[in-house]
Symmetry: C2
Subunit: 190 residues, 2 copies
């Protein structure tokens, strides 16, 4: 491997490699496939945009996989194509604002998974109301579930409209609320 550049696996600093590995593993447990999470981690730590080929070499995965993964990441707006003068190849860089990252992941997953489920749930409730085979308990529970989901949903929608600065304010405000409610909390804790 001293010369021939066949299947070169470019080495990475140990801490960087460890981070990428853990990040990929975490993504794997969260419904994101490993390669995509790893590529994102690599780009997140990179000081300059990378080409697909470099990414493949650094992570030791096939170029085809990198191509597909990059497309996914661009769709999720977690990375972007950046043109480089005098280079025909596509270069990619990661979104570095972590608030944006979580916001976009949340947006995507909600649109793809919870919104359809929400719609289906609505249909279930409607169908259950018209179905005499559904007992009262099931009916109540379905309605409870729907009310809960709708509450969470509208809360989320409102949060989305907030600028990042307000988010920070809200979180520290949340801490204050905790501090205010905990010591003198007259209401029973359940």
């Amino acid at each position: 491997m001293t010369d021939t550049s066949e299947s070169t696996l470019e080495p990475l600093p140990a801490p960087v490699e460890k981070f990428i590995l853990h990040w990929g593993d975490m993504g794997n447990h969260w419904g994101v496939n490993r390669s995509i999470a790893q590529i994102h981690a690599l780009l997140y730590l990179s000081d300059s945009p990378l080409t697909a080929e470099r990414i493949a070499a650094r992570l030791g995965i096939a170029r085809s996989g990198v191509s597909n993964s990059l497309r996914e990441l661009v769709n999720w707006k977690l990375i972007r194509r950046v043109p480089v003068r005098g280079d025909r190849r596509d270069h990619f860089e990661a979104e570095t604002d972590l608030w944006e990252v979580v916001k976009r992941i949340a947006e995507g997953r909600k649109a793809r998974e919870v919104d359809p489920a929400r719609a289906a749930l609505k249909e279930c409730v409607a169908a259950a109301e018209a179905d005499p085979d559904v007992d009262g308990t099931a009916m109540t529970r379905l309605a409870d579930m729907m009310a809960f989901i709708e509450t969470m949903n509208s809360w989320y929608e409102q949060m989305l409209t907030l600028p990042k600065t307000s988010w920070v304010a809200l979180i520290s405000l949340g801490s204050q609320v905790v501090r205010a409610l905990r010591p003198g909390g007259g209401s029973r804790p359940q």
Copy 2:
């Protein structure tokens, strides 16, 4: 049960079945395996505790799978064993307070997945500080990531200590904040 109880697949009301199917599918996309989510949905809609055998019959899955799934669900405290007078068999019922359900799922996933990742990240940052091969950008990004995770973590920990009633208050308070900040928001929205 009129006679031969061989591999009986007890029918369910259509809306209930639809809900269970969707719930199972959703769980599947979220790292929970389908059977477990389906069993939880079935118990959630049931008006009385069920035995493993009944569950297997209603969902059309093997008793062994039900046994394993029930154990998981009990570990996550999403369902509980309930004794029934004059019946040796174990009966199970679901937690019906949805706030508790999400709280326990969040607790479990955090303990199993994000806490280890958090620890690993800490190690990465420490190792990176001592490693001259790690460039400044990577160093900064790792530190950013850690700060972000730590913020989210302490926020979450604080939220956990709140009783349910305060949660509701916080959410509606969040809405007020949105309403207050949105129209007069002087700060630029990015």
